[in-house]
């Protein structure tokens, strides 16, 4: 079992879109996948038509393996299951801060309930918190969508500094450019600068800004399901290939 987190300390950068499409790619490749929605907004579950779990409250998430396991739902896609979120997840931090070993609780819960899966993908809420420290500790890889703008550059700097300060392994960080608009010179310039600055942190694959991805909300399905031949679908596929197999495609 390996754990991949889709994380950013900035909101609205494409974490959920990435989680859902990446999870689907893994399942298509034959892996058994659990997409774990840690964001109380429940966007991942929404995209896969899975209703929020009523009974899996924040405390139970960490302490009641049976309840955790029972709350897992099959998606409509072979090999892809979902653990839907609910509103109590917004109190994860309060809960965790009172615990002993408060930084390793997430890993423990995932191992206990999700060990049957080949891959667990975490769709994370955007902030620095005890939960995010748990995420950094639990994940084998942390996939970070970065929109190539000045503001995003700053938030990524903060993330790397946080890793430095806390002596966390930076090689877990796999950043990629998200919502890229190639015609914008600002995007191009930012990408050039950041790639130089963080040579080892950035994947080659990038996800373009695409109407097909925006339409996920109406279609409530992974992009490749309703737009299999789109550029967006191909981009997510190459992101998967690079993360899983280290295959770098030239796009």
């Amino acid at each position: 079992m390996k754990i991949i987190a889709c994380y950013s300390n900035k909101g609205g950068v494409g974490k959920t879109a990435t989680s859902v499409n990446l999870a689907y790619s893994y399942a298509k490749a034959g892996y058994t996948v659990l997409l774990c929605d840690l964001d109380p907004q429940g966007a991942s579950g929404f995209y896969l038509r899975v209703k929020p779990s009523k009974k899996l409250t924040d405390a139970r998430f960490f302490e009641d393996v049976a309840r955790f396991t029972k709350s897992i739902r099959a998606s409509d896609f072979e090999g892809l299951d979902v653990l839907p979120a609910n509103m109590t997840f917004r109190d994860f931090d309060v809960f965790l801060s009172r615990m002993r070993n408060k930084r390793s609780r997430l890993k423990k819960a995932l191992v206990a309930a999700g060990s049957d899966y080949d891959v667990i993908i975490l769709d994370c809420p955007p902030n620095f918190s005890t939960l995010s420290e748990n995420i950094f500790k639990a994940a084998d890889q942390i996939v970070v969508p970065v929109i190539p703008t000045t503001l995003s550059e700053r938030t990524f700097d903060q993330l790397v500094s946080f890793f430095d300060a806390k002596k966390l392994p930076k090689n877990k960080l796999k950043a990629f450019f998200s919502m890229v608009q190639r015609r914008k010179t600002l995007h191009q310039d930012t990408m050039d600068v950041m790639k130089k600055l963080y040579r080892k942190r950035f994947l080659n694959s990038a996800i373009p800004f695409a109407a097909d991805i925006e339409r996920m909300g109406q279609n409530r399905a992974p992009v490749s399901v309703y737009a299999p031949r789109s550029a967006a679908s191909a981009a997510y596929q190459s992101l998967y290939d690079e993360i899983e197999n280290g295959v770098v495609s030239n796009t």
Binding site: L48, R49, V50, K51, K70, S71, I72, R73, A74, D76, D81, R220
Partner: protein, 504 residues
């Protein structure tokens, strides 16, 4: 319980309109049907799959095995094949217990239609998946509905299963499928149950048994002609052998003239089948033969088996021609008619003896004769006596089998167990001896006028004969011990109490 597929056999068609409107908050949606295909129902002649609650369907180049609400599929053809010779796969694995000597044959055919369905909630999320497999023949149809649970949606699964269970109205197992689609398919039984009354006149018992086995023999003719597997001819011969043993063992039931005439008639029926059966046996044991001799001697054995195969093909052509001939059909029909009514037969002095009393007398006498011979056997007794003992045991066994319905089944079981062991021993002793003779005469046939044979052939056969002779001796050495086990005080007591009554 969720976690496993559930499977429902619904006679007729699934009412889709009703099905789609039966759930609150859930809507079953049927996918378009896949193109209708022809299917064949596969089983062996005695329908062992059906007897074990399984159904094997071949359609569109795939095999589908239905059992306990589960369908296992494998992409391969099965008709005419032996289960153990199918390509590796889940269906072959699931058929591991299928009789090794029986081929899969088509026992029925019809049309098959497959449709998938999904049970959707208000978000169009699938909560239960399923398939409807409809089988139909010109006699009727049946729907096999499978529902598959999805993780986290147990409640929906249960709801759908409850509905389907109600629709299936308690129907379980695979028999409803057979009743709906193949109502005329009868089950072949190599050893049908024959009822006997204790006071029934013995001539009626004899007639019932003979009539039954003539019919069993006839049910195997088509399979011999089609050369489906070797068990058809084997069963055919076993049936006729049973008939012959009734004629010869039920002494005095028919008049002496008729007895002689019937013996001749059934011997004549058996005779043309002997060669094919012998060759079948050699060919079935081919691999064992190769294991008996070192690889350097395999060339000659290969040549011999090639010859056997050729000869079998020719012998089978002759036998099939005979089975298809009008003369043969007429002969069998006449015999069947003769045994349709005991009144058609000439009674002998024992014709009216009551079955139970007659059985006791026959079995007791045969038992005493067998024991007398067996007790006389020492390491120095000639082989002929051991052969004689084999035949006596066989007769005893036949008598006990014919009259078994009149006696306590548990007591019979206790007797048969050591008897069978002794018989297996004697059977092997005989087989090894017959095989040596056969090999010997094979070399003679393939020798020139000076009595010289091909060296490769002679080497192999010489090797085989040497090993077979060793084996025959080993079997012989076991006979005395096996008889002593059969001759225990317990079995002696059983025989006495079952068959030997005071005043007899």
């Amino acid at each position: 319980m969720p976690g496993n597929n559930s499977f429902f056999v619904i006679p007729g068609a699934l009412d889709e309109v009703k099905f789609s409107k039966s759930f609150k908050g859930l809507t079953p949606k049927m996918n378009d049907a896949k193109p209708v295909q022809r299917f064949e129902l596969l089983d062996c002649h005695d329908q062992s799959l059906r007897a074990s609650g399984r159904v094997l369907i071949e359609a569109g180049g795939s095999l589908h095995l239905l059992k306990d609400g589960e369908t296992i599929s494998q992409r391969c053809k099965g008709k005419g094949k032996f289960a153990q010779n199918l390509p590796a796969g889940p269906v072959r694995d699931a058929l591991a217990d299928f009789p090794e000597l029986r081929a899969l044959m088509s026992v029925g055919a019809g049309q098959i239609e497959n449709r998938a369905f999904a049970v959707l909630d208000d978000l169009q999320k699938t909560q239960v998946r399923g398939t409807v497999m409809t089988l139909y023949s010109d006699r009727g149809q049946v729907s096999l509905v499978a529902a598959q649970p999805l993780r986290g949606y147990d409640r929906a699964f249960q709801t759908v299963c409850e509905y389907l269970e109600t629709t299936a109205s308690g129907v379980t197992g695979v028999e409803p499928l057979f009743n709906a689609v193949f109502p005329d398919l009868t089950v072949y039984k190599a050893k049908p149950e024959i009822r006997i009354g204790t006071q029934e006149p013995s001539i009626e018992v004899a007639t019932d048994i003979i009539r039954t086995y003539i019919s069993v023999a006839r049910q195997n003719e088509a399979g011999v002609i089609a050369d489906i597997d070797t068990e058809f001819l084997h069963d055919y011969r076993v049936s006729l052998r049973r008939v012959r043993s009734v004629i010869s063992l039920f002494k005095g039931v028919f008049s002496p003239e008729q007895t002689a005439e019937l013996k001749r008639a059934f011997s004549d029926l058996m005779a043309p089948t002997g060669r094919v059966r012998d060759l079948d046996v050699y060919l079935l044991e081919k691999e064992d033969y190769f294991r008996l001799i070192p690889p350097q001697l395999h060339d000659g054995a290969r040549a011999m088996f090639k010859q056997f195969e050729k000869e079998r093909t020719q012998a089978l052509v002759r036998l099939s021609r005979r089975f298809r001939s009008q003369a043969y059909d007429q002969q069998m029909t006449t015999l069947a008619k003769l045994f349709a009514d005991p009144g058609n037969l000439q009674p002998g002095p024992n014709a009216d003896r009551a079955a139970y009393e007659y059985a006791c007398a026959l079995i007791w006498k045969r038992y005493r004769k067998t024991c007398k011979l067996a007790r006389s056997i020492t390491p120095d007794t000639p082989d002929e006596d051991v052969h004689e003992l084999r035949i006596d045991c066989k007769k005893l066994r036949y008598l006990m089998e014919f009259f078994a319905p009149l006696f306590d089944a548990r007591a019979f079981k206790r007797i048969i167990k050591p008897l069978k062991k002794l018989q297996d021993n004697l059977g092997l002793f005989n087989d090894f001896s017959v095989q040596q003779e056969a090999l010997h005469s094979f070399v003679q046939q393939h020798s020139n006028t000076q009595g010289r044979a091909d060296a490769q052939l002679a080497l192999s056969i010489g090797g085989l004969i040497a090993v077979l002779d060793q084996r025959q001796k080993a079997e012989r050495d076991r006979v005395i011990a096996n008889f002593q086990r059969f001759d225990s005080p317990d079995i002696r007591h059983l025989f006495r109490s079952l068959f030997h009554h005071k005043g007899d």
